[in-house]
């Protein structure tokens, strides 16, 4: 019987990215042999997080509140809205320290084949956001085909409302040498060139 429970846990751990059967087994053995308390805490936190975390009603980022801390913070500039694909992108932009506005998290990009349409990326919530206060929308969306379609959709929807829409530059990484950059990146960099 005991073996069955362990096997179930090993299988369950494989839902984590990068965890195959071998490393799942190692984790289970580690927890059983050395850190049962840590494991209990982990189990408890997992349950609480999965039960309590939902999407912020304004920006769709993960939060345990109705409106997340960033959306309700008076320190953030509500005139400027940055649209990102996912929470990890938001964190990356925050780390640059360059942006003091608020965010909107799409949780994906338009991808019809994957069944992801405007509703799935919260277009209506974004449209409702783009009234009153917001003066500028920055689209920090990747340069994939789906990213392109998504950025176009949002830009066309918002522009007639008199909001300034920009898209972050796509191109050469810092320290990148042109000859090693793939043709797709280089084409994007060329189409998005600016006058200096």
């Amino acid at each position: 019987m005991a073996k069955l429970i362990i096997d179930e846990l090993i299988d369950a751990l494989r839902c984590l990215p990068g965890v195959g059967p071998k490393s799942a087994q190692r984790m289970v053995m580690h927890l059983l042999e050395r850190d049962r308390n840590g494991a209990r805490q982990l189990a408890d936190k997992l349950v609480t997080t999965m039960d309590k975390i939902r999407h912020c009603a304004q920006c769709r980022n993960f939060t345990d509140l109705e409106i997340c801390q960033m959306c309700s913070s008076p320190a953030r500039d509500g005139q400027s809205l940055c649209v990102v694909e996912n929470p990890a992108d938001l964190i990356a932009i925050e780390q640059t320290g360059q942006f003091r506005g608020k965010y909107f998290v799409l949780m994906g990009t338009l991808s019809p084949i994957d069944g992801i349409g405007p509703d799935e990326i919260g277009i209506d919530i974004l449209a409702a956001r783009c009234v009153d206060e917001v003066k500028e929308v920055i689209l920090a969306i990747g340069s994939s085909v789906e990213g392109e379609a998504t950025a176009h959709y949002i830009a066309e929807m918002i522009k007639p409302r008199g909001i300034e829409v920009s898209r972050i530059a796509q191109g050469i990484p810092m320290g990148g040498e042109l000859e090693y950059i793939d043709a797709g990146t280089l084409s994007h960099a060329l189409t998005g060139r600016k006058v200096i």
Partner: protein, 261 residues
């Protein structure tokens, strides 16, 4: 394995490893660093293949992008092939609404085209469509042409120039209604909603002459009915995206008008 069959296997694998033209229709994550890509290939139609090391920080290749013509070599005996080697021939950047149209074409192909059906004409029509989308020139003609060839290559080609049920040629001055999988029935244009489809349009479409705008519109309406009957209960997501797109654009324009007045 005998010497002779070994040579034979090598010949097969060499043949499989040849670089041949293809497009990536769609890619999805597979394990941690790979992707499964749906390809439209010139030689074998739709092929699904694993592209190893396509994702992650240490990725070996550039990221696989739809719409760019590629040369690809793959191997494997099962239906899911493994990509041995690939390179991008050139970059097609579809911008704005044309990217949505491209995604629509890809969804159609993934939904309707079975694996390993040879579709050389469709491959060319797809290429033609992408070129039109890149140049942003005659895109609706190219899209209708692509849909017509898709239906033909799937074995559901529409006979535009023959009347049902008589089998007589369509009369340019008559009007018709279209029934999916059956064909065109003559109707009284005075009584039929919107007057039905005009015979002269149908004759043009039969000759693949899409130079007149109203003919392109007729082709759009007919192919939509024909494709919908093939797609069954699950309509295209792209169609839904387009509908909502038009709705959202008109809403925004309306609110813009209100602001101005």
């Amino acid at each position: 394995m005998s010497g002779r069959s070994k040579v034979w296997v090598m010949m097969i694998s060499n043949h499989r490893a040849e670089l041949s033209p293809a497009y990536i229709l769609h890619s999805r994550k597979y394990r941690d660093t790979s992707q499964i890509v749906e390809l439209l290939t010139l030689k074998e139609g739709r092929v699904a293949a694993v592209m190893r090391g396509a994702r992650g920080k240490k990725k070996k290749h550039q990221t696989a992008q739809p719409f760019c013509p590629i040369l690809v070599a793959y191997f494997g005996r099962s239906d899911l092939k493994t990509i041995a080697n690939w390179e991008v021939s050139y970059i097609n950047l579809l911008q704005g609404e044309n990217a949505l149209i491209g995604l629509y074409a890809n969804e159609l192909l993934v939904r309707l085209l079975g694996p390993f059906e040879v579709v050389e004409r469709l491959f060319v029509a797809y290429q033609y469509l992408l070129n039109a989308l890149v140049k942003d020139d005659e895109t609706s003609q190219a899209l209708r042409y692509f849909e017509l060839i898709l239906l033909e290559d799937l074995g559901y080609g529409i006979t535009f120039d023959v009347e049902v049920p008589t089998g007589e040629p369509v009369r340019p001055d008559a009007c018709y209604r279209y029934v999916a999988a059956e064909g065109f029935y003559p109707v009284d244009s005075q009584r039929y909603p919107n007057g039905g489809f005009r015979g002269d349009h149908l004759v043009d479409i039969a000759n693949k002459d899409l130079s007149r705008e109203e003919v392109v519109l007729t082709a759009k309406q007919v192919t939509r009915v024909a494709l919908a009957s093939l797609l069954g209960d699950k309509p295209l997501k792209s169609r839904e995206v387009f509908k909502k797109y038009r709705l959202d654009m008109s809403k925004s324009l309306l609110s813009d008008e209100k602001d101005k007045s």
